[in-house]
Symmetry: C2
Subunit: 274 residues, 2 copies
């Protein structure tokens, strides 16, 4: 999926919502537990109920890996449930040296057919550039995350005064273009989104932390939007577990629609002219 394709889906859906798929066995509604494959039944319900309101899905690999040997089969089937009109972002936060990175690219892009993969920056350019070699695929690099631990290293100042996350984003923009690379920027990071937007004006930001983690959607939209929207805002638990009853899918759809309606307003207010 190209950047222009993504932008056209955003415009037609009036949404920049990404739905995070974190299927936690312990939180599955009673009503799907008797299904042969409860996780798949749950996710199928979620995807069908939300697909009109979002432009991307972000399966979180940890929740599939925690299912053991069967987890990857369920992951593969989940990917197949997602329509072609939606970007599939494998949230796996991989990162390793060249030949290993190429194997991860092969796994997620070729074997499973995902559009994008989250990648960690600590090991530097040769752990990131192998992912950029896959035509039409996206590398989503951790920039500034939404968790308290972002204070430990990402916010720490380098010699010269810039924080580490800024160094990471500055370096990475020399490795990949806005047509192959995005950055993870947490919604809880307020002004830092504005700062990162000046450093990487044309790149998409994948923004977790709205909803359960307390980030504010209006602030993100106001400070982060560019002329291609440039934002994919992720919500996981607030949608997946909107209801624990039989109406879980309806409730998820309602929550996704609520976010989409809010996003529609911000697209009207903050989308820059190109």
């Amino acid at each position: 999926m190209t950047r222009n394709q993504l932008f056209s889906f955003i415009k037609s859906k009036e949404s920049f919502l990404c739905v995070g798929l974190d299927p936690d066995l312990a939180r599955l509604p009673e009503s799907v537990r008797s299904e042969e494959e409860p996780v798949l039944a749950f996710l199928e319900g979620i995807i069908n109920a939300t697909k009109d309101y979002c432009v991307a899905y972000k399966p979180n690999l940890a929740f599939f890996e925690a299912l053991g040997e069967k987890g990857w089969e369920i992951f593969a089937k989940t990917v197949q449930l997602i329509p072609d009109t939606h970007m599939i972002i494998a949230d796996a936060k991989r990162g390793d040296i060249g030949n290993t990175a190429r194997k991860y690219a092969q796994a997620f892009f070729d074997e499973f057919g995902c559009d994008a993969l989250t990648v960690a920056p600590y090991m530097g350019h040769d752990s990131v550039t192998p992912f950029l070699e896959s035509e039409g695929k996206w590398t989503v690099l951790l920039g500034l995350t939404s968790n308290p631990g972002s204070q430990d290293f990402q916010h720490r100042r380098m010699a010269g005064g810039v924080p580490l996350y800024e160094l990471v984003v500055r370096e990475a923009t020399t490795w990949g273009t806005p047509d192959q690379l995005m950055f993870v920027v947490g919604a809880t990071q307020g002004d830092s989104i504005q700062h990162l937007r000046t450093l990487a004006p044309d790149y998409f930001f994948l923004v977790p932390g709205v909803g359960a983690q307390g980030g504010d959607l209006e602030t993100v939209a106001r400070l982060g939007m560019n002329d291609h929207c440039g934002l994919l805002v992720n919500a996981s638990r607030s949608i997946l577990y909107a209801s624990s009853g039989e109406d879980f899918a309806d409730a998820a759809g309602q929550e996704a629609k609520r976010l989409q309606q809010e996003m529609k307003i911000y697209l009207g207010e903050y989308l820059l002219e190109s």
Copy 2:
């Protein structure tokens, strides 16, 4: 496996060798390709031929994930091939926030029964400490890696003058003890190993980069050994692909034995008195 158990295996084997399991389909010997499960047949041959000369195995998850849906089943079966006397280090370089990290811990420690997992530090304490909660299991945190990209961020100076990798190791030693936490320290990093040993005197270092990547075993042993050995030196390709013929297992065993014989000498020379 406790630190003392690991040390006793090191003493009885006179080895601190870890064999990396990176099964690359394109490099499998002709002779196993007709097997029903070529990767498993290959790894079974490698493990049987090397187990007398090493104390740990490090399956690299990328190579299993690249096999697609079946990859995790093959990974689970590989883990079962490894004797209880050997530490199993899942080289997966995971790292994510609390609830996701706990799912990764569940996957690798509970579902697959690995002893240790490599973890990336960029997201900070709350992406690392969930792994430390698993009793008797090990978190192997990336400290200073062996690849050229380590120059991009790890070697960069922070305000105050220390490089990022030093900040990471200093912080992490406040999160976990030498009985639950190790660090990845590349063999190509020479003097930095000595420096890290002063910062983390009692911690084990998992050292990749000897062999195919050109690191020197004697230097690593001389600069890095402590009174519990404190080193697991990994070799992958130089052992796995020592021969591409029918004798691949014998050749792997010979290469492992050669490294073990060298390690025996260094254990005699450099092991500190406790």
